[in-house]
């Protein structure tokens, strides 16, 4: 589904990704871990198509197609979804209407007509129940004044609405209490299928107890320096990252 080959990327001439290789197949869950500043969020943004980042070498193949030249919205239309570490507040645009616009723009890109209002409402109701989101919440301005947990739950709600092929969850667990974490993880698990894939970016093992990864990768200094199974996440939890840094720097 996703194949990243020797990816180098920089922002304002500062090199951040220095040769990432990663392959994600349908049905898989990958966890990306690593210390702060190692390039995890940059990788997520580059896959999603943030324009500030410049790919200087390598490529990203999604569903057999090099997506480097595609705009963020075109990648979204192909089924890439990024759950933001810091969801952006958009005053004046309600959650519901943002979702309506997003769904219909995705349909338009596929040559489909707007989703009938009734169907849209049903979908919104269904998915908001999955994430245990209050109805009143849906008419509020997107992310404006939301608590950390509400923002993250809202991200997964959007994911549930859009049903992406590849979901990248960028530190979705940060700022969540245990109940919110459970709700979010439960939502992600319910959306998982043999046809889609998830990349979970996190510092901590905590989320991975709920969303169990097939593979765990450690990013350090712009490269994937270690890959393993869920057991690697446990090891990192116990020992921290220093031993990895030492291994790399040795």
């Amino acid at each position: 589904m996703l194949k990243i080959n020797n990816l180098h990327a920089s922002v304002e001439d500062k090199s951040i990704l220095k040769g990432i290789n990663l392959e994600v197949k349908p049905g898989e869950v990958h966890a990306l871990m690593g210390p702060n500043g190692s390039g995890k969020s940059t990788l997520a943004s580059v896959i999603a198509g943030k324009e500030e980042y410049e790919v200087t070498e390598g490529n990203i193949i999604f569903e057999g197609e090099d997506i480097e030249e595609l705009a963020a919205e075109e990648r979204a239309h192909k089924g890439v979804f990024l759950s933001f570490q810091y969801p952006v507040e958009i005053p004046g645009v309600s959650v519901t209407n943002f979702m309506k616009t997003a769904i219909n723009e995705n349909r338009k890109a596929k040559g489909l007509k707007d989703m009938p209002a009734k169907e849209m409402l049903k979908l919104i109701r269904e998915k908001s129940e999955l994430l245990e989101i209050d109805r009143k919440f849906l008419s509020r301005s997107l992310n404006e004044g939301f608590s950390g947990g509400e923002k993250k739950r809202n991200e997964i709600f959007q994911m549930a609405m859009l049903e992406p092929k590849l979901a990248i969850l960028d530190e979705t667990d940060s700022g969540l209490d245990i109940d919110a974490l459970r709700i979010v993880a439960n939502g992600v698990n319910k959306l998982k299928s043999k046809d889609n894939a998830v990349i979970v970016i996190t510092h901590y093992q905590r989320l991975l107890e709920y969303i169990v990864p097939d593979f765990v990768h450690v990013i350090y200094n712009g490269r994937i320096v270690k890959s393993g199974t869920a057991a690697l996440a446990h090891e990192l939890e116990e020992k921290g990252y220093d031993w990895i840094k030492e291994e790399v720097n040795a």
Binding site: A48, G49, K50, E51, A71, A72, E73, R75, A76, H77, F81, L82, F84, P87, V88, E89, I90, P91, G92, V93, S94, N97, F98, K100, T101, A102, E105, N106, A109, S141, Q158, L162
Partner: protein, 437 residues
Amino acid sequence: MDLKEKLVSSFLAFENHVDIDGYIHDVRSDAIKVFEEKGFPSKKEEDWKYTSLNSILKEDYSVFPKQENALDYKDIKKYFIHDIDTYKIIFIDGKYSSHLSQTTHDGIDVCLMSSALNKPKYQLIIENYFNKAATKDSLSSLNTAFSSEGAYIHIPKNKIVRKPIQILHFSTGNESATMLQPRNLVVVDENSHVQIVERHQSLTSNPVLTNSVTEIFANKRAIVDYYKIQNDNENASLIDNTFIKQKRESLASVHTFSFGGKLIRNNLNFYQEGERLDSTLKGITIIGDKQHVDHNTLVHHKEPNCESHQDYKGIFSDRSTGVFNGKVLVDKEAQKTNAFQANNNILLSDKASINTKPQLEIFADDVKCSHGCTIGQLDESAMFYMRSRGIPKKEAKALLMYAFSNNVLKSVKIPELKQRITNIIANKLGVNIGFDL
């Protein structure tokens, strides 16, 4: 002969062809003297520092309306709010169009200034209100000197006018350049409500300059909502001079939607002459090319316990320019005044500019006055966020800009008008989304 000389020398001829009534004759004669003395405002004047009239004054305008050019309703229907029942006062090239209008004298007067100025039954209202709110600045004086036609609206006490009143001015280009000077008077008596929508529309590319004066009197506990749609073509300019006098416990609002035209100057003045009243001034400006929109507002708080709310949003692209000059004057007697003013702007191009200048002059010591102005660019992180959800760049931009101006739109009380404005905004932003926010 420049435009000023042409106007001054036309005055006698003008006075000869309108009926000369004692009171109005004196008012007009005084006004032409003021205009003759002051002339058109120049950039040397503080209030005109950022707006030059030079480019629009150089045209050779025809200053008297000639014979009416008939228009078919079906050709101009789109400029009306046509999906609800309304009163209509329609002018074509400055002349009243009876077949397009729908006026009334049934308990309220929604009719013509020309008949009000000439018929004895309106004399009392004219003498009490005509030219009693307008200031003696040069442009208002010029309008006063040539005042003969426009809308006359008098709502006696305890009347809730259910149908909005539309005032539309069309120009057909039957002169190579036309100057229009409509004069409106709106008197709303105790406990009465009225909603008015005004629009100026040029139908050809011939230059049009409109210098209009509207005087509005909101008497005790009256509610007046006035909406101005300024979406004219690129050769039409508008100088709108509006004066509102409010008596106690009245609510008056003016919404100004400026989306088109060559040059627009709004001189909007509120005078608070009673306690516990509320004035609202809101506007959305979305312009591009080399368009220029200038909002010059004044709220004069003269009595205690009153409020004023100003909220102007501006979005400027290409080489367009904007001005916001908002003055709030709080007299010593006007204790417990609450005055709010906000002016937020987005510049979408390096060549667009906005000059924004809040002016607060406060002589009372127990007041709440706030003002804030911002000038920013489009929020790039919000753009990426929306695009990552599959909303294309143009639509994402439009949605952000619509959301930015939505606060002003929210207070429009006529749903059909709100829908109309929403459509104009979507059209202006080049998108086809409902903005059902």
